[in-house]
């Protein structure tokens, strides 16, 4: 039983990453109607930015949490301005193909310069060590990841669902022409939204840097799992993608305990089940 609690908690940690990434995908999808295949690559760039900040400029983890999402977010906005915006009005699949190409380029370039085996990034001193919770030894850093990503997810939800800016965003999703008629610069809003979604991916990257090796392909396989998460949850609602992300992390964690052989397939199997029972996804509207 004790081991079970431990696995639940550990599952939440993975869930944090799923939630942050699928949230970013949902934000981008809502506004641009694009599935951002480059999300995994941008997540990786977040981790690498943290690495560079530390090793080139001596800027530590805490500043990296702020700076890396901004840097990668700006990179994302440049991508949106120079490439993605030309696809407006075309079939959505072109957006998928374009971002897939971008992902290949980014990952390939990093792989060429930094190899594949990965670079180390240490846990910040303030979060080193662990607590004995009785039923498990919880590294403090892991606890921090769960709490922090929960806060970020809720803040994003608040921003989009409860503020004026968010109201514009949602309105522009529904009817861009009308919103433009009110004198709101819709293209700029689209760019900023893409930057926000990408920034969330980069933030997840910084969070994961001390846990995993910083590797060029760290996002490549993860993104496919996140796609399945998105299919399960549906991208209709922000809260939906947050909850599905955490929930699937926990389910995966439990699988690792009860039947580890299936732990990397369980999300996909769940996806198939959901599709058979409720094709539109758990929270989604019809696509």
């Amino acid at each position: 039983m004790q081991a079970l609690y431990a696995q639940l908690l550990v599952g939440l940690i993975n869930g944090s990453f799923y939630a942050l990434l699928s949230l970013g995908l949902a934000v981008i999808f809502g506004m641009l109607n694009i599935i951002n295949f480059a999300h995994g690559a941008l997540y990786m760039m977040g981790a690498f930015t943290a690495y560079f900040l530390l090793n080139l400029f001596g800027i530590g983890y805490w500043w990296a949490l702020l700076i890396a999402p901004i840097v990668v977010g700006i990179f994302g906005m440049i991508l949106e301005r120079t490439m993605l915006q030309w696809l407006a009005g075309l079939d959505h699949l072109y957006g998928l193909l374009l971002t897939f190409g971008i992902a290949l380029i980014v990952q390939g370039v990093f792989q060429n310069y930094f190899g594949s085996s990965g670079l180390p990034y240490a846990i910040p001193d303030e979060l080193k060590g662990g607590m004995n919770l009785g039923f498990m030894f919880l590294p403090i850093y892991r606890g921090w990841v769960v709490v922090f990503s929960l806060v970020v997810c809720l803040a994003t939800w608040f921003l989009i669902e409860k503020t004026r800016l968010g109201a514009y965003l949602r309105a522009a999703t529904e009817n861009p022409t009308l919103v433009r008629a009110f004198g709101i610069n819709v293209p700029r809003m689209i760019t900023l939204t893409y930057g926000l979604g990408v920034g969330l991916a980069a933030l997840a990257g910084v969070l994961s840097a001390p846990i995993n090796q910083v590797r060029p392909l760290m996002g490549a396989d993860l993104i496919i799992v996140v796609f399945a998460v998105v299919v399960i949850g549906g991208m209709g609602s922000i809260m939906g993608s947050i909850i599905t992300g955490f929930a699937l992390g926990v389910i995966e964690g439990l699988t690792k305990y009860f039947y580890p052989e299936a732990s990397n397939t369980v999300v996909f199997v769940l996806m198939v089940l959901v599709l058979l029972i409720k094709p539109t996804g758990l929270t989604g509207r019809a696509a």
């Binding site: 085996s117 030894f137 995993n212 690792k256 732990s263």
Partner: protein, 406 residues
Amino acid sequence: MKQQLSALLLGTALSFAAASGALAQDKTIKIGVLTDNSGLYSDLGGAGSTLAAQMAVEDSGLAAKGWKIDIISADHQNKPDIGTSMARQWIDVEKVDIFMDVLNSGVALAVNNVVKEKNAIMINTGAASSDLTNAQCSPNTIHWVYDTYMLANSTGQALVKAGGDTWYFLTADYAFGHALERDTAAVVTKSGGKVIGAVRHPLNTADFSSFLLQAQASKAKIIGMANAGGDTTNTIKQAAEFGIVAGGQKLAGLLLFITDVNSLGLKVAQGLNFTETFYWDLNDGTRAFSKRFSEKMKNKAMPSMVQAGVYSGLVHYFKALEAMGGNPHDGAKVVAKMKEMPTDDPLFGKGTIRVDGRKLHPAYLFEVKKPEESKGPWDYYKLIGTTPGDQAFRPLSESACPLVKK
């Protein structure tokens, strides 16, 4: 044909030298270094393997004796498909006589078939699979540096002897991981230890915390990592986070290289135990070679055992050719000659090549130094045990190789 670029450079230089000597016999050799130039294992083999081959050619002095030696290299991208089509093309079109490195077991086993079918030679220094000299053995292949059986055997035996008598395995859930776990578990039990459990994790797992918690709860003295590459380094890194080594358990890597230690850093890797057959700082011979090697490397890296193996393998190959006097194109014949002659070179010392194609030499169990013990870059290992060559590898009595007469 970009892979010819290096060949052209070296080839022209050498052919000038060769042109002066009279060619009584066919004395042209083409060496193909087939490796991973840019992926997961590029630090392990890659450009370093090509460099090692060039050094072997230069040191052999064969050019002055009228031999013409070309080296070409290419990237198989860790895909068996690309490996086989590259191998076919190299033999058919480029007339390559000998394949070096060929790391990645999948690619190695695929190339092994092509090389046998077309009677070329492969000296494999990079692949782990012990099948190359077991069920899949071939009269055209020599497995030079290490294999999974040896790693399991040496690490398992030595650690049990040192008191690590209870084991828990963290195993990558596919054939390779299963084989490593099975072989190591057998050795542990035979040496008087006990295996108290195992957990299978999927390949390329980012998060090992669940598995590490289970390993921690088992209270085993040794946690054997039957996995490789990124999985192993992530396990080690996260084990440090969960305080596993600090809590008194020991991590044993069953397939780990000096390049992994370099990427992890001593702070995380300290205290790890694992086996290699070459370390640059073993003796004067290895130090002299490694110093020359590292000066020529782009990032000043010391040679890995895979790269050292390329050098050592070629040194022996050249000796056999000199003894034969020429006509290097009958692969099986050259390999037979190589098996007849005892091996001796500064990197791996004296050794032999067994009938199944297994090169025998001692296996060393290392422990990774603490950061404060290290005197400089690449000073990583303490030698804590040596298994003699004839005991380190799979005995012929257990072999399923058809070349072994029973």
